[in-house]
Symmetry: C2
Subunit: 333 residues, 2 copies
């Protein structure tokens, strides 16, 4: 498909989020996390350039600590707390990478972390969260139960909530991905990142608009979890979609803050089907020799489906993480 | 098992190979291949350090061009040729990474390459060699037939033979792996590399002995392809072993030149069983988030089996390549 351009573009500077996350917040985040986070490499492969008909620069967050970009935002949030707040610990709800990221960040600061996890969460993810020293709090597998369990924890312990994406500190942390990429690669014509809750793409959009205004900015989303695509097209937040995708990191919906950031800054959301996502994941493993999860591969899948749009360009592609169950790979078919 | 120390160590400087490959040849190789080869990253993972009880620095040749260190040696050999010799092209026999490496190096120099491939070679490897533009010459799947086909080609075309490992130019090229690693990491206590024909370990041994004499040097070899281990222990070249290992890059035997280099310089060969190699490969994928082939994983497998020997040390571990059939992974069991 051709990338969808949000039309008409809303006027800039009309939401309160502008005051909350800006380049300066992202630069502060970068300084805050530098003792803990990896500067991840940018990899290339001739074979993928040939396939795509453009120059692909892959920002490899699968090499980030806990195996995903999520460590950046969680680390920034945890180390931004004043000592009194930090002393009460942090809490979040997550069955995935953000839970592990918050657990590790809290351990590095020497404070407690509690993660509300639905009872049906994958054992391997639960184990990862526990392995970084967080306390796991079980809840029924509904949003209402998760919210109630989280609220109860906060009321009882005074712990600070660090939401996986609807949190300016988290968004600023994720923005350091684009900050690094733009330092590592000159003259990027287009930047593509996966979009689930929108924290990564929001942070990257803010950094890129400030540092490289001519770079076009694209989200990549599974067709079967297209709430961000549909919300931007409708110009209102739609959160009634039921995602059904292999991309377990992209099943969340945009929040008001990420919706507001994205509608002002990005050029569009590109979609990719499930078969294309698996094929792209296999291409990344084969040619880059790296392990990435399906949520990362949606970027290459969407780009290949819209390759005529990027012909000859220098494209930055954010590969968001590499936490995949090696015993349950989606191939051979 | 405990690493085997070659005992007694033969006197140094007793073979003609000393004159052929030395640090200067490796420095020349580094300068020759720098326009073409990747400087590959060194990766680390806390989880693997914890498992091994030491500090592991993985030199990731899976990111080298054609997906394996073999490009270094082939590139050095091809670009070391004088123009008249080069004009006749190059030839080798290989069903694996060296064939692809020589094909790419020849293409980069703009000369022809012919690769003698046994009829029973894997389709995927054959396709890789062809994809870099080499001419494939089929032969019956015996050493005699391969040698005869190669000799006939040389007689007819005047092409230069570039052996996969029994060639000083190739050994010097492979030595650039250690040269880079020692520049990237200070104070390496021990270095481990896989050993098949011995070209990689020989080059690394020469570079390391010259630049970091206190670093101990270890080969890692499958128990079921232990010709190098047995040859060094017997202090004579044994080439009657029939390898039976998943490590398709390590089924070759030492040649006189690599045997002579290794017996003078390395501290021993460590062995690993097939199950341990597969488990180590999975650990590398899981924790480093990279795709490496079984021949790479023999290093970690052997190290974990001898972990008490390296306790607390800084260990350089050469991961030799990442060319693996993603549709036929050795797990789940």
């Amino acid at each position: 498909m051709r990338p969808m351009r949000t039309d008409p573009p809303p006027a800039a500077g009309t939401t309160p989020t502008d005051a909350v996350v800006d380049l300066s917040a992202i630069l502060d985040a970068a300084a805050r996390i530098v003792p803990y986070a990896q500067i991840t490499p940018v990899l290339r492969a001739d074979a993928l350039d040939d396939l795509a008909g453009c120059e692909l620069h892959f920002k490899c967050e699968n090499f980030q600590r806990i195996g995903a970009f999520k460590f950046r935002g969680a680390c920034n949030a945890v180390f931004a707390l004043d000592d009194a707040t930090a002393a009460c610990g942090v809490v979040t709800q997550s069955s995935g990478n953000h839970g592990a990221a918050l657990a590790l960040a809290a351990r590095l600061r020497g404070i407690g972390a509690q993660v509300v996890v639905p009872e049906n969460a994958a054992k391997v993810k639960r184990a990862a969260i526990a392995s970084y020293g967080a306390r796991i709090v079980d809840c029924a597998p509904t949003m209402a139960a998760r919210d109630a369990a989280t609220a109860a924890l906060i009321a009882r312990t005074g712990a600070e909530l660090v939401h996986p994406f609807a949190d300016p500190r988290v968004i600023a942390g994720q923005g350091t991905v684009a900050l690094e990429l733009l330092r590592q690669c000159d003259s990027i014509d287009a930047l593509i990142a996966p979009v689930g809750g929108g924290g990564l793409l929001s942070g990257c959009a803010i950094a890129t608009r400030a540092l490289s205004p001519r770079t076009t900015l694209w989200g990549a989303e599974p067709e079967q979890a297209a709430d961000a695509h549909d919300s931007l097209r409708a110009n209102r937040l739609l959160d009634d979609r039921v995602p059904d995708t292999i991309c377990d990191g992209l099943r969340g919906h945009l929040a008001p803050i990420t919706f507001a950031i994205l509608r002002e800054r990005i050029d569009g959301i590109m979609l990719a089907g499930e078969t294309q996502i698996v094929a792209a994941m296999r291409l990344l493993w084969q040619h880059l020799k790296i392990v990435v999860e399906p949520s990362s591969a949606v970027t290459l899948a969407a780009l290949l489906a819209a390759r005529e749009h990027f012909a000859g360009q220098r494209v930055g592609v954010v590969l968001s993480g590499g936490n995949v169950d090696l015993d349950a790979l989606p191939w051979p078919p």
